[in-house]
């Protein structure tokens, strides 16, 4: 008797993290209920999983990119649901966040198909078939260079080839450390990008101020493979405050364009960073806790200051500015800030430089696409060193939409202003 063998495939089996893949099952019996499951073991040895419930069609085929998931960690027609809906497996430690440390190795995913609609017990049951997919932050040929120069610590990622390339100064937020993966991905798209370390979770430099960031920007400009007048700044969270400060006030650093993700014009870097964090700490009474004891920090900067000394004078900015926010951001009051920024720029007459993208029900941590949404995670509060679980906000599906759409827009924005027409300003879009 002929026996059909179910065939599971993922294509491409190796891709960059911001590329889509197609997961398909063939040779199932028709109308066969199956579960597509994705498993990942993180560098911290935690297990993350996602799954969707499908039914094969008359030819015994399931195509995740086209078919509806009837349930699981995602539902509906979700091409990349097996990635963005991943969450720690039941029994995991609390407050996990999925972040890649070693960018020269891929994320490895085990994608399996099981008979029936399962919601648990994936480890104990044998799948019908499994395949492995690799997701890379770094394209082949990208060079990774540790930077420890003029007092600045960071990692430079240079695309392959002679260059010269446009440059990006890439900064994350108050969580600190040296986070490389976004810069590695930017270099894979042709930008010489430096991930900058400016806070060490264990040890805050006391006198680091705007000069540190100007030096970092200069290091990028001075690199022989960078076109010095085509350097932009990308910041997330506190990194946005840095970006806006440099764009508005620096006489030395003249970014070609700026991207601020989930940030604000509050806390201009007109004093040492440590002092600013200290001040945040003094406003502790403005921090709230939700019913799970997660910390909500968004009220810290509310109401938006009217005193100009307490916010970046964005009216002075002379380069295109892209703001990317989620309207369910529970960490910073980014939508209120964006509104105030728009008003200030309107008054100053430079609003044509501003583009604001506000994503409904997206949270604070708007990362490159297809990475899991993190609603809350472990965090060490800078000034007190207290370990809390910080609420970032957002809902998985809406947040996934924000990540996918915003990343495309950020790349286009950087390409437009650093590669194509550096002298033209975009039309304002809201």
């Amino acid at each position: 008797m002929a026996r059909t063998i179910a065939m599971l495939s993922v294509h491409p089996s190796r891709g960059l993290v911001d590329e889509k893949f197609r997961v398909e099952v063939e040779n199932l019996p028709p109308a066969c209920p199956v579960t597509l499951h994705c498993l990942h073991r993180s560098e911290d040895q935690d297990h993350w999983e996602a799954f969707g419930h499908y039914c094969s069609d008359h030819s015994g085929t399931v195509k995740v990119s086209e078919d509806e998931s009837f349930g699981g960690t995602y539902s509906g027609r979700e091409h990349m649901g097996l990635l963005w809906s991943m969450r720690p497996v039941p029994g995991s430690r609390r407050g996990l966040r999925l972040r890649k440390t070693r960018v020269d190795f891929p994320m490895t995913l085990l994608i399996s198909v099981y008979r029936g609609h399962l919601t648990a017990g994936f480890r104990e049951l044998p799948p019908v078939a499994s395949v492995v997919a690799e997701r890379w932050y770094m394209a082949p040929g990208v060079k990774r260079i540790a930077v420890e120069e003029r007092g600045v610590t960071g990692t430079f990622f240079i695309p392959p080839g002679p260059g010269p390339f446009p440059g990006v100064l890439d900064m994350w937020g108050g969580g600190g450390g040296l986070v490389e993966y976004r810069s590695a991905l930017l270099a894979s798209h042709g930008f010489a990008s430096m991930a900058l370390k400016y806070i060490d979770p264990g040890d805050t430099p006391t006198d680091m101020a705007m000069g540190y960031f100007e030096t970092a920007f200069q290091i990028i400009q001075d690199h022989p493979q960078v076109t010095s007048d085509r350097v932009g700044i990308l910041g997330l969270s506190f990194g946005t405050s840095v970006a806006l400060t440099l764009a508005a006030y620096s006489q030395i650093s003249r970014p070609r364009c700026c991207v601020g993700i989930s940030g604000s014009h509050a806390y201009p870097i007109n004093r040492p960073v440590a002092e600013l964090f200290g001040e945040m700490g003094m406003n502790e009474k403005k921090m709230k806790r939700d019913e799970e004891d997660n910390v909500i920090m968004r009220n810290l900067i509310l109401p938006i200051a009217t005193d100009p000394a307490k916010k970046v004078d964005v009216g002075r900015i002379e380069c295109p500015l892209l703001l990317v926010n989620g309207d369910d951001d529970q960490n910073w009051a980014t939508t209120e800030s964006a509104e105030d920024i728009a008003n200030m720029m309107s008054v100053a007459g430079n609003k044509h430089l501003l583009t604001t993208l506000t994503y409904p029900k997206a949270g604070h941590l708007i990362e490159p696409p297809f990475t899991p949404h993190i609603r809350a995670s472990n965090f060490i509060v800078q000034h007190s060193k207290e370990k809390v679980i910080m609420l970032w906000g957002g809902e998985p599906k809406a947040h996934a939409v924000a990540q996918e759409d915003s990343w495309k827009r950020i790349l286009n924005f950087l390409k437009e202003h650093l590669c194509i027409e550096p002298t033209l300003a975009p039309q304002a879009k809201l």
Partner: protein, 396 residues
């Protein structure tokens, strides 16, 4: 340094792919109607450099799309989306008669693709390109496992796809030559087949000191696959190249235990003592060595060693007795084996016997003997070591 206007953009997609997948090379924001050369460079595991290049003219928007545009010259020409890979050849000054082969199939080929101004034909490494990218070309998909096999006296390399199985399987019989080419086997595993690349020309010697393995060696190999817990025993195919193809044909007809689901014979021949062994095939070659010819560069042509196709049934495999589908792949310019003549004869035999419906012949004009996985460079001639005599060709 102030740079005006849009920056030149070279992109290659995908940057990591299997060797049988296509790539798309795009140039954007070059000057309009600009002469450009796209160049590929690959350094082999032996330290030899291989290169290919194509001449293009950008359109009015300054774009070149290698998949769509016409190449005006270089190592290939015309509309050739994959010319930059299949036309790779040793750079001038290389050792003669190199053959393209990946030994470590667990690591990728790294190919550098560069863009140069103007129509260049040499000295690429002495000039600074306008842009470069690196692509990885993999034989092995993620999750494929490689196991060196020694079982029941049989040696070879087993490749297992990821997952619990069970899987259909392939017994891969490579051609003659010193090292064991695993490329096809690992690629088949990347497509979901458990594959055993069998080492049958350089096995470990037995206590008896016999050089060529007997048919029982192949029977054991087939049985190793049948009894493997991850293999569906009724779904095993045999794929053979050259010598391997000849063995595959003979065994499928005469072996009492080898019953493949289907057969693929690449550049093979059915001309051999019917029911004979590998040693018999070698003996047959030796008998006809006087038919060896040489071309104008003293390169060896073994094409005539098995000709003429005999009419005596004892001198060829009775393919009329085949019970499974057979795919014959033939290069019409094969100078090593008479694959085309053999294919015609096999077709006639099968039609007369009534099993012609099992046969499919793919015959390619101007194609040689070494029909390898796609987008590999073509080798018109190469160094070769006779497995039996250890004689090197061409003679030094």
């Amino acid at each position: 340094m102030a740079v005006q206007g849009p920056m030149l953009w070279l992109s290659v997609h995908p940057c990591r792919g299997l060797v049988d997948e296509k790539i798309k090379v795009l140039v954007q924001h070059a000057a309009p109607v600009q002469r450009l050369t796209v160049h590929t460079l690959f350094r082999s595991e032996d330290g030899d450099d291989w290169e290919a290049f194509g001449h293009y003219v950008s359109d009015s928007a300054g774009a070149v799309d290698v998949s769509e545009d016409v190449c005006l010259g270089g190592t290939y020409s015309g509309h050739e989306p994959m010319g930059l890979l299949w036309s790779l050849r040793p750079v001038p000054g290389s050792r003669p008669s190199l053959r393209f082969r990946k030994k470590d199939t667990g690591t990728p080929m790294l190919v550098t693709i560069s863009l140069h101004q103007g129509f260049l034909s040499d000295s690429f490494t002495e000039r600074l390109p306008l842009a470069s990218r690196v692509v990885e070309r993999w034989y092995m998909a993620p999750g494929v496992r490689r196991v060196e096999l020694t079982e029941g006296g049989v040696t070879g390399t087993l490749f297992l796809p990821p997952g619990p199985g069970q899987f259909p399987a392939v017994l891969d019989l490579p051609g003659g030559g010193r090292s064991l080419p695993e490329a096809r086997a690992v690629l088949l595993a990347s497509h979901g087949f458990v594959t055993l690349a069998l080492n049958y020309l350089n096995p470990r010697r037995t206590a008896g000191g016999e050089y060529h393995v007997g048919n029982d060696y192949f029977q054991t190999a087939f049985s190793v696959l049948q009894t493997h817990p991850q293999v569906i025993r009724e779904r095993i195919a045999i794929v053979g190249l050259s010598f391997g193809a000849s063995m595959a044909l003979g065994l499928s007809v005469y072996s009492p235990t080898i019953k493949p689901s289907c057969l693929v014979s690449i550049s093979g021949s059915h001309v051999q003592p019917a029911g004979g062994s590998l040693g018999d095939i070698f003996a047959e070659f030796k008998k006809n060595e006087k038919n060896t010819r040489y071309d104008e560069e003293k390169r060896v042509i073994w094409h005539d060693l098995l000709l003429p196709i005999p009419s005596n049934p004892s001198k060829k495999v009775d393919v009329g007795q085949l019970c499974c589908p057979l795919l014959l792949i033939v290069g019409e310019d094969d100078q090593n084996w008479p694959a085309e003549e053999s294919a015609s004869d096999m077709k006639e035999m099968m039609e007369m016997s009534g099993n012609g419906h099992l046969l499919t012949v793919l015959s390619y004009p101007d194609t040689g003997h070494l029909i390898e996985p796609p987008y590999s460079p073509h080798c018109r001639s190469s160094n070769f070591i006779n497995a039996e005599s250890r004689e090197k060709y061409p003679p030094r």
